[in-house]
Protein backbone atom coordinates (compact mmCIF):
# COMPACT_ATOMS: atom_id res chain seq x y z
CA UNK A 1 0.00 0.00 0.00
CA UNK A 2 1.03 3.65 -0.13
CA UNK A 3 3.48 4.87 2.46
CA UNK A 4 2.04 6.53 5.56
CA UNK A 5 2.28 10.28 6.05
CA UNK A 6 5.85 10.94 7.06
CA UNK A 7 8.48 13.64 7.38
CA UNK A 8 11.80 13.76 5.55
CA UNK A 9 15.07 15.43 6.43
CA UNK A 10 18.41 15.13 4.63
CA UNK A 11 21.48 15.42 6.85
CA UNK A 12 24.63 16.60 5.11
CA UNK A 13 27.10 16.09 7.97
CA UNK A 14 27.38 14.03 11.16
CA UNK A 15 26.97 17.19 13.23
CA UNK A 16 23.79 17.98 11.35
CA UNK A 17 22.59 14.43 11.98
CA UNK A 18 23.22 14.63 15.74
CA UNK A 19 21.30 17.90 15.89
CA UNK A 20 18.35 16.38 14.01
CA UNK A 21 18.40 13.25 16.21
CA UNK A 22 18.47 15.40 19.35
CA UNK A 23 15.49 17.39 18.11
CA UNK A 24 13.32 14.50 16.91
CA UNK A 25 14.40 11.69 19.24
CA UNK A 26 12.94 8.22 18.85
CA UNK A 27 10.38 9.42 16.27
CA UNK A 28 13.15 9.72 13.69
CA UNK A 29 14.24 6.71 11.66
CA UNK A 30 17.68 6.67 10.05
CA UNK A 31 17.46 5.91 6.34
CA UNK A 32 20.40 4.86 4.16
CA UNK A 33 19.60 3.14 0.83
CA UNK A 34 16.04 2.51 1.98
CA UNK A 35 15.71 -0.80 0.16
CA UNK A 36 14.42 -2.62 3.23
CA UNK A 37 13.03 0.30 5.22
CA UNK A 38 10.79 1.68 2.47
CA UNK A 39 9.29 -1.77 1.83
CA UNK A 40 8.49 -2.06 5.55
CA UNK A 41 6.67 1.30 5.32
CA UNK A 42 4.50 -0.08 2.53
CA UNK A 43 3.57 -3.02 4.78
CA UNK A 44 3.12 -0.75 7.85
CA UNK A 45 5.73 -2.87 9.61
CA UNK A 46 7.26 0.42 10.64
CA UNK A 47 5.67 3.84 10.87
CA UNK A 48 8.28 6.41 11.89
CA UNK A 49 7.20 10.05 11.82
CA UNK A 50 10.46 11.25 10.25
CA UNK A 51 12.97 9.70 7.85
CA UNK A 52 16.49 11.00 8.41
CA UNK A 53 18.37 10.55 5.13
CA UNK A 54 22.07 9.96 5.84
CA UNK A 55 23.17 9.23 2.27
CA UNK A 56 24.74 12.67 1.80
CA UNK A 57 27.04 12.47 4.84
CA UNK A 58 30.60 12.28 3.47
CA UNK A 59 32.09 10.90 6.70
CA UNK A 60 30.22 7.62 6.11
CA UNK A 61 31.69 7.02 2.66
CA UNK A 62 34.86 5.53 1.26
CA UNK A 63 36.86 2.31 1.16
CA UNK A 64 40.45 2.49 2.43
CA UNK A 65 43.29 0.30 3.65
CA UNK A 66 45.19 1.63 6.65
CA UNK A 67 47.77 -0.51 8.41
CA UNK A 68 46.38 -4.00 8.77
CA UNK A 69 42.74 -3.06 8.22
CA UNK A 70 40.33 -2.66 5.34
CA UNK A 71 37.77 0.00 6.27
CA UNK A 72 34.47 0.07 4.37
CA UNK A 73 32.24 3.10 4.89
CA UNK A 74 28.65 2.37 5.92
CA UNK A 75 27.21 4.09 2.85
CA UNK A 76 29.08 1.80 0.47
CA UNK A 77 26.38 0.49 -1.85
CA UNK A 78 26.32 -3.20 -2.76
CA UNK A 79 27.17 -2.36 -6.39
CA UNK A 80 30.24 -0.42 -5.21
CA UNK A 81 31.28 -3.21 -2.84
CA UNK A 82 31.06 -5.70 -5.71
CA UNK A 83 33.32 -3.78 -8.09
CA UNK A 84 35.85 -2.28 -5.65
CA UNK A 85 39.44 -3.40 -6.26
CA UNK A 86 40.52 -3.07 -2.60
CA UNK A 87 37.61 -5.22 -1.48
CA UNK A 88 38.38 -7.81 -4.13
CA UNK A 89 42.05 -7.90 -3.10
CA UNK A 90 41.57 -7.97 0.68
CA UNK A 91 38.04 -9.30 1.32
CA UNK A 92 37.00 -11.30 -1.75
CA UNK A 93 34.31 -12.97 0.37
CA UNK A 94 32.36 -9.70 0.18
CA UNK A 95 32.89 -9.37 -3.59
CA UNK A 96 31.61 -12.92 -3.96
CA UNK A 97 28.57 -12.21 -1.76
CA UNK A 98 27.33 -9.20 -3.73
CA UNK A 99 25.77 -11.07 -6.68
CA UNK A 100 23.76 -13.10 -4.16
CA UNK A 101 22.11 -9.97 -2.74
CA UNK A 102 18.71 -9.24 -4.31
CA UNK A 103 18.82 -7.80 -7.85
CA UNK A 104 20.83 -5.15 -9.76
CA UNK A 105 18.31 -2.34 -9.17
CA UNK A 106 18.34 -3.05 -5.41
CA UNK A 107 22.14 -3.38 -5.29
CA UNK A 108 22.40 0.09 -6.84
CA UNK A 109 20.74 1.64 -3.76
CA UNK A 110 21.20 -0.72 -0.79
CA UNK A 111 24.19 -0.14 1.50
CA UNK A 112 26.38 -2.36 3.67
CA UNK A 113 25.57 -0.25 6.73
CA UNK A 114 21.86 -0.61 6.12
CA UNK A 115 22.11 -4.36 5.68
CA UNK A 116 24.09 -4.78 8.91
CA UNK A 117 21.81 -2.45 10.90
CA UNK A 118 18.70 -4.24 9.71
CA UNK A 119 20.27 -7.59 10.70
CA UNK A 120 18.05 -9.85 8.67
CA UNK A 121 18.98 -13.41 9.71
CA UNK A 122 18.93 -14.56 6.07
CA UNK A 123 21.08 -11.71 4.74
CA UNK A 124 24.55 -12.36 3.34
CA UNK A 125 26.63 -9.44 4.64
CA UNK A 126 26.03 -9.99 8.38
CA UNK A 127 27.29 -13.58 8.01
CA UNK A 128 30.26 -12.44 5.95
CA UNK A 129 31.51 -9.92 8.49
CA UNK A 130 31.23 -12.47 11.29
CA UNK A 131 33.18 -14.97 9.16
CA UNK A 132 35.85 -12.32 8.53
CA UNK A 133 36.01 -11.49 12.27
CA UNK A 134 35.35 -7.85 11.39
CA UNK A 135 34.62 -4.96 13.69
CA UNK A 136 31.60 -2.68 13.36
CA UNK A 137 32.48 0.96 13.99
CA UNK A 138 29.49 2.66 15.63
CA UNK A 139 29.41 6.43 15.92
CA UNK A 140 27.28 8.76 18.00
CA UNK A 141 27.46 12.35 19.17
CA UNK A 142 29.76 11.03 21.90
CA UNK A 143 32.30 9.52 19.50
CA UNK A 144 33.18 6.13 18.04
CA UNK A 145 32.78 2.66 19.55
CA UNK A 146 34.14 -0.58 18.10
CA UNK A 147 31.98 -3.70 18.34
CA UNK A 148 33.25 -7.13 17.23
CA UNK A 149 30.93 -8.45 14.51
CA UNK A 150 30.33 -11.65 16.50
CA UNK A 151 28.80 -9.52 19.30
CA UNK A 152 26.96 -7.11 17.01
CA UNK A 153 23.98 -9.26 16.05
CA UNK A 154 22.12 -9.81 19.30
CA UNK A 155 18.77 -11.31 18.27
CA UNK A 156 16.22 -11.40 15.47
CA UNK A 157 16.58 -8.03 13.65
CA UNK A 158 18.41 -6.72 16.74
CA UNK A 159 21.91 -5.30 17.03
CA UNK A 160 24.22 -3.94 19.71
CA UNK A 161 23.63 -0.38 18.50
CA UNK A 162 22.13 1.83 21.22
CA UNK A 163 19.78 4.77 20.59
CA UNK A 164 21.71 7.68 19.13
CA UNK A 165 24.27 5.41 17.43
CA UNK A 166 24.64 4.61 13.75
CA UNK A 167 27.11 2.46 11.85
CA UNK A 168 30.02 4.48 10.47
CA UNK A 169 32.06 1.70 8.89
CA UNK A 170 33.14 -1.93 9.00
CA UNK A 171 36.79 -2.76 9.64
CA UNK A 172 38.16 -6.04 8.35
CA UNK A 173 41.51 -7.38 9.51
CA UNK A 174 43.84 -8.27 6.64
CA UNK A 175 44.67 -11.93 7.13
CA UNK A 176 45.85 -14.74 4.93
CA UNK A 177 42.86 -17.04 4.58
CA UNK A 178 40.64 -18.75 2.09
CA UNK A 179 36.99 -17.75 2.03
CA UNK A 180 33.79 -18.71 0.26
CA UNK A 181 30.07 -18.10 0.40
CA UNK A 182 27.23 -20.19 -0.95
CA UNK A 183 23.50 -20.16 -0.42
CA UNK A 184 20.39 -21.97 -1.47
CA UNK A 185 17.44 -19.79 -2.48
CA UNK A 186 14.18 -20.63 -4.21
CA UNK A 187 14.77 -17.98 -6.87
CA UNK A 188 17.82 -15.94 -7.81
CA UNK A 189 17.83 -12.80 -5.66
CA UNK A 190 15.54 -14.15 -2.93
CA UNK A 191 16.68 -14.23 0.66
CA UNK A 192 18.44 -17.53 1.29
CA UNK A 193 16.63 -20.58 2.64
CA UNK A 194 20.06 -21.37 4.07
CA UNK A 195 23.55 -20.07 3.44
CA UNK A 196 27.14 -20.42 4.61
CA UNK A 197 30.00 -17.91 4.69
CA UNK A 198 33.31 -19.50 5.62
CA UNK A 199 36.88 -18.42 6.27
CA UNK A 200 39.88 -20.53 7.31
CA UNK A 201 43.61 -20.97 6.89
CA UNK A 202 45.41 -24.11 5.81
CA UNK A 203 48.90 -24.42 7.30
CA UNK A 204 51.08 -27.47 6.62
CA UNK A 205 48.00 -29.24 5.35
CA UNK A 206 45.98 -28.57 8.53
CA UNK A 207 42.94 -26.37 9.02
CA UNK A 208 43.58 -23.36 11.27
CA UNK A 209 40.98 -20.99 12.73
CA UNK A 210 37.97 -22.11 10.71
CA UNK A 211 34.96 -19.82 10.94
CA UNK A 212 31.75 -21.25 9.54
CA UNK A 213 28.86 -18.79 9.70
CA UNK A 214 25.41 -19.99 8.68
CA UNK A 215 22.57 -17.67 7.72
CA UNK A 216 18.86 -18.21 7.23
CA UNK A 217 18.89 -20.88 9.93
CA UNK A 218 18.55 -18.87 13.15
CA UNK A 219 17.83 -15.48 14.64
CA UNK A 220 21.01 -14.04 13.15
CA UNK A 221 24.30 -15.24 11.69
CA UNK A 222 25.27 -18.46 13.49
CA UNK A 223 28.99 -19.03 14.14
CA UNK A 224 29.26 -22.81 14.33
CA UNK A 225 31.64 -23.53 17.20
CA UNK A 226 31.42 -27.32 17.26
CA UNK A 227 31.81 -27.71 13.52
CA UNK A 228 34.86 -25.45 13.76
CA UNK A 229 36.28 -27.60 16.58
CA UNK A 230 35.81 -30.68 14.42
CA UNK A 231 37.89 -29.06 11.67
CA UNK A 232 40.58 -27.31 13.71
CA UNK A 233 43.94 -29.02 13.22
CA UNK A 234 42.54 -31.67 10.90
CA UNK A 235 43.53 -32.28 7.33
CA UNK A 236 40.76 -30.99 5.08
CA UNK A 237 39.36 -34.16 3.57
CA UNK A 238 36.17 -36.16 3.30
CA UNK A 239 36.48 -37.39 6.89
CA UNK A 240 36.92 -33.97 8.48
CA UNK A 241 34.13 -32.49 6.35
CA UNK A 242 31.84 -35.30 7.49
CA UNK A 243 32.83 -34.61 11.10
CA UNK A 244 31.99 -30.93 10.67
CA UNK A 245 28.62 -31.85 9.15
CA UNK A 246 27.86 -34.15 12.08
CA UNK A 247 28.87 -31.49 14.61
CA UNK A 248 26.38 -29.05 13.11
CA UNK A 249 23.59 -30.94 14.87
CA UNK A 250 24.74 -29.24 18.08
CA UNK A 251 25.49 -25.85 16.52
CA UNK A 252 22.20 -25.16 14.76
CA UNK A 253 18.72 -24.85 16.18
CA UNK A 254 16.71 -23.66 13.17
CA UNK A 255 13.08 -22.72 13.54
CA UNK A 256 10.40 -23.63 11.05
CA UNK A 257 9.80 -20.80 8.60
CA UNK A 258 8.08 -20.21 5.25
CA UNK A 259 10.62 -22.45 3.55
CA UNK A 260 10.25 -25.56 5.63
CA UNK A 261 10.81 -27.41 8.88
CA UNK A 262 13.98 -27.43 11.01
CA UNK A 263 15.18 -30.77 9.62
CA UNK A 264 15.14 -29.38 6.08
CA UNK A 265 17.24 -26.40 7.21
CA UNK A 266 19.68 -28.75 8.92
CA UNK A 267 19.91 -30.77 5.74
CA UNK A 268 20.60 -27.67 3.63
CA UNK A 269 23.28 -26.57 6.11
CA UNK A 270 25.03 -29.94 5.79
CA UNK A 271 24.84 -29.75 1.99
CA UNK A 272 26.33 -26.25 2.03
CA UNK A 273 29.08 -27.38 4.40
CA UNK A 274 30.20 -30.04 1.97
CA UNK A 275 30.00 -27.68 -1.01
CA UNK A 276 31.91 -24.83 0.62
CA UNK A 277 34.59 -26.89 2.33
CA UNK A 278 34.89 -29.14 -0.73
CA UNK A 279 35.65 -26.02 -2.73
CA UNK A 280 38.77 -25.44 -0.58
CA UNK A 281 40.28 -28.82 -1.49
CA UNK A 282 43.29 -28.36 -3.78
CA UNK A 283 42.06 -31.01 -6.16
CA UNK A 284 38.66 -32.55 -6.22
CA UNK A 285 38.55 -36.13 -5.00
CA UNK A 286 37.07 -38.03 -7.88
CA UNK A 287 35.37 -41.37 -7.60
CA UNK A 288 37.49 -44.14 -9.07
Amino acid sequence: MKWPAIGYLRASSLDGLWAAMAEHGAAAQIMAGGQTLLATLAFRLSEPSLLLDITHIPELRGITVAGNTLRIGALTRHVELGRDALVRAHAPLLSEAVPLIAHPAIRNRGTIGGSLAYADPAAELPACIVALDAVVVAVSAGGERRIPARDFFTDLLQTALVPGEIIAAVEIPLLERVTAIQEIARRSGDYAMAGLAAALRIEAGRVVCPRLVYFGVGNGPVLAARAAAALEGAALDAASIAAAQAALAEDLDPQQDLHGPPEMKRHLARVLTARVLGGFLPTRELAA
Binding site: A5, Y8, L38
Partner: protein, 172 residues
Protein backbone atom coordinates in the same frame (compact mmCIF):
# COMPACT_ATOMS: atom_id res chain seq x y z
CA UNK B 1 6.20 19.56 1.39
CA UNK B 2 9.77 19.29 0.15
CA UNK B 3 10.98 21.42 -2.74
CA UNK B 4 13.03 19.45 -5.28
CA UNK B 5 14.75 20.40 -8.49
CA UNK B 6 15.80 17.57 -10.75
CA UNK B 7 16.29 16.57 -14.37
CA UNK B 8 13.75 14.17 -15.89
CA UNK B 9 14.41 12.88 -19.41
CA UNK B 10 16.58 15.90 -20.12
CA UNK B 11 14.14 18.50 -18.83
CA UNK B 12 14.50 20.58 -15.68
CA UNK B 13 11.64 19.91 -13.23
CA UNK B 14 10.91 21.96 -10.09
CA UNK B 15 8.18 20.65 -7.77
CA UNK B 16 7.13 20.46 -4.16
CA UNK B 17 6.41 16.89 -3.06
CA UNK B 18 5.07 15.16 0.01
CA UNK B 19 7.74 12.95 1.59
CA UNK B 20 5.41 9.94 1.26
CA UNK B 21 5.46 10.30 -2.54
CA UNK B 22 7.61 7.61 -4.13
CA UNK B 23 9.38 8.21 -7.41
CA UNK B 24 6.88 6.25 -9.50
CA UNK B 25 3.82 8.14 -8.26
CA UNK B 26 5.80 11.35 -8.74
CA UNK B 27 6.49 10.43 -12.36
CA UNK B 28 3.00 9.09 -13.12
CA UNK B 29 0.76 11.42 -11.13
CA UNK B 30 2.73 14.65 -10.81
CA UNK B 31 4.50 14.61 -14.19
CA UNK B 32 2.08 12.51 -16.25
CA UNK B 33 4.81 10.09 -17.33
CA UNK B 34 2.70 6.93 -17.16
CA UNK B 35 5.08 4.63 -19.03
CA UNK B 36 6.66 3.44 -15.77
CA UNK B 37 4.27 1.13 -13.95
CA UNK B 38 3.48 0.83 -10.25
CA UNK B 39 3.17 -2.89 -9.58
CA UNK B 40 3.76 -4.42 -6.18
CA UNK B 41 4.99 -1.15 -4.60
CA UNK B 42 7.30 -3.00 -2.23
CA UNK B 43 10.33 -3.64 -4.36
CA UNK B 44 9.66 -7.14 -5.64
CA UNK B 45 8.21 -7.00 -9.17
CA UNK B 46 10.46 -4.57 -11.07
CA UNK B 47 7.64 -2.98 -13.13
CA UNK B 48 8.70 0.44 -11.80
CA UNK B 49 12.36 0.22 -12.90
CA UNK B 50 13.78 3.61 -13.94
CA UNK B 51 17.25 5.17 -14.06
CA UNK B 52 18.50 7.53 -11.38
CA UNK B 53 21.91 9.08 -12.01
CA UNK B 54 22.64 6.51 -14.70
CA UNK B 55 21.75 3.40 -12.66
CA UNK B 56 18.53 1.42 -12.58
CA UNK B 57 16.50 1.54 -9.37
CA UNK B 58 13.15 0.41 -8.05
CA UNK B 59 11.07 3.56 -8.42
CA UNK B 60 8.78 2.39 -5.61
CA UNK B 61 11.73 2.24 -3.19
CA UNK B 62 12.97 5.77 -3.74
CA UNK B 63 11.49 8.90 -2.17
CA UNK B 64 10.89 11.65 -4.71
CA UNK B 65 11.82 14.05 -1.90
CA UNK B 66 15.33 12.55 -1.80
CA UNK B 67 16.02 13.30 -5.47
CA UNK B 68 16.93 16.98 -5.34
CA UNK B 69 19.70 17.37 -7.92
CA UNK B 70 19.20 13.92 -9.43
CA UNK B 71 18.96 12.91 -13.07
CA UNK B 72 16.06 10.57 -13.83
CA UNK B 73 15.47 8.72 -17.10
CA UNK B 74 12.26 6.78 -17.73
CA UNK B 75 11.01 4.49 -20.47
CA UNK B 76 9.76 7.62 -22.25
CA UNK B 77 13.29 9.03 -22.18
CA UNK B 78 15.11 5.99 -23.55
CA UNK B 79 12.37 5.43 -26.13
CA UNK B 80 12.57 9.00 -27.46
CA UNK B 81 16.38 8.97 -27.55
CA UNK B 82 16.42 5.84 -29.71
CA UNK B 83 18.72 4.06 -27.26
CA UNK B 84 16.53 0.96 -27.22
CA UNK B 85 14.88 1.10 -30.65
CA UNK B 86 16.40 -2.24 -31.65
CA UNK B 87 15.49 -3.86 -28.32
CA UNK B 88 11.90 -2.67 -28.62
CA UNK B 89 11.67 -3.97 -32.19
CA UNK B 90 13.00 -7.32 -31.03
CA UNK B 91 10.37 -7.41 -28.24
CA UNK B 92 7.73 -7.02 -30.96
CA UNK B 93 9.35 -9.56 -33.28
CA UNK B 94 9.65 -12.16 -30.51
CA UNK B 95 6.23 -11.44 -29.00
CA UNK B 96 8.05 -10.67 -25.73
CA UNK B 97 5.27 -8.34 -24.59
CA UNK B 98 1.88 -9.89 -23.96
CA UNK B 99 -0.20 -7.89 -21.48
CA UNK B 100 2.64 -5.36 -21.48
CA UNK B 101 2.54 -4.44 -17.80
CA UNK B 102 6.10 -5.57 -17.06
CA UNK B 103 7.50 -4.43 -20.41
CA UNK B 104 8.75 -0.91 -19.52
CA UNK B 105 10.62 -2.33 -16.53
CA UNK B 106 11.98 -5.20 -18.63
CA UNK B 107 13.21 -2.76 -21.26
CA UNK B 108 14.86 -0.53 -18.63
CA UNK B 109 16.62 -3.51 -17.02
CA UNK B 110 17.66 -5.04 -20.34
CA UNK B 111 18.92 -1.61 -21.48
CA UNK B 112 21.07 -1.52 -18.33
CA UNK B 113 22.66 -4.82 -19.33
CA UNK B 114 23.10 -3.63 -22.92
CA UNK B 115 24.72 -0.42 -21.68
CA UNK B 116 27.37 -2.53 -19.93
CA UNK B 117 28.24 -4.15 -23.26
CA UNK B 118 29.90 -7.54 -23.63
CA UNK B 119 28.28 -10.73 -24.83
CA UNK B 120 26.30 -12.17 -21.94
CA UNK B 121 25.09 -15.74 -22.06
CA UNK B 122 21.40 -16.54 -21.78
CA UNK B 123 22.02 -17.44 -18.15
CA UNK B 124 23.59 -14.04 -17.52
CA UNK B 125 20.68 -12.29 -19.23
CA UNK B 126 18.27 -14.28 -17.05
CA UNK B 127 20.23 -13.35 -13.95
CA UNK B 128 20.18 -9.65 -14.78
CA UNK B 129 16.43 -9.74 -15.43
CA UNK B 130 15.71 -11.96 -12.41
CA UNK B 131 14.26 -9.06 -10.42
CA UNK B 132 11.65 -8.29 -13.06
CA UNK B 133 8.51 -10.40 -12.96
CA UNK B 134 6.44 -11.30 -16.00
CA UNK B 135 3.22 -13.26 -15.47
CA UNK B 136 2.43 -13.84 -19.17
CA UNK B 137 5.34 -14.84 -21.33
CA UNK B 138 7.21 -17.49 -19.38
CA UNK B 139 10.30 -15.31 -20.01
CA UNK B 140 11.67 -17.29 -22.99
CA UNK B 141 10.58 -14.70 -25.55
CA UNK B 142 11.98 -11.89 -23.43
CA UNK B 143 15.37 -13.59 -23.14
CA UNK B 144 15.22 -14.25 -26.89
CA UNK B 145 14.61 -10.56 -27.63
CA UNK B 146 17.46 -9.40 -25.41
CA UNK B 147 19.81 -12.04 -26.79
CA UNK B 148 18.94 -11.06 -30.36
CA UNK B 149 19.71 -7.44 -29.55
CA UNK B 150 23.13 -8.30 -28.17
CA UNK B 151 23.89 -10.46 -31.19
CA UNK B 152 22.83 -7.78 -33.66
CA UNK B 153 24.76 -5.06 -31.85
CA UNK B 154 27.85 -7.30 -31.81
CA UNK B 155 27.53 -7.74 -35.56
CA UNK B 156 26.91 -4.06 -36.28
CA UNK B 157 29.36 -2.53 -33.83
CA UNK B 158 26.93 -1.50 -31.13
CA UNK B 159 24.34 0.48 -33.08
CA UNK B 160 20.85 0.63 -31.62
CA UNK B 161 19.17 1.27 -34.98
CA UNK B 162 15.88 -0.59 -35.21
CA UNK B 163 16.14 -3.65 -37.44
CA UNK B 164 12.51 -3.36 -38.51
CA UNK B 165 9.75 -5.68 -37.49
CA UNK B 166 10.58 -8.71 -39.58
CA UNK B 167 11.15 -12.00 -37.80
CA UNK B 168 14.66 -12.00 -36.48
CA UNK B 169 15.67 -15.51 -37.44
CA UNK B 170 15.38 -19.06 -36.24
CA UNK B 171 14.19 -19.83 -32.75
CA UNK B 172 15.78 -22.38 -30.52
Amino acid sequence: MIAISLNVNGERVNRSVEPRRHLIDFLRIDLGLTGSHAGCEHGVCGACTVRVDGEIVRGCLVLAASLDGAEVVTIEGISDSGEVADLQANFVARNAAQCGFCTPGMIMTAADLLAHGGSPTRAEIREHLSGNYCRCTGYQAIIDAVEDTFRTRDATGGSAAAPGLQSSGAGR
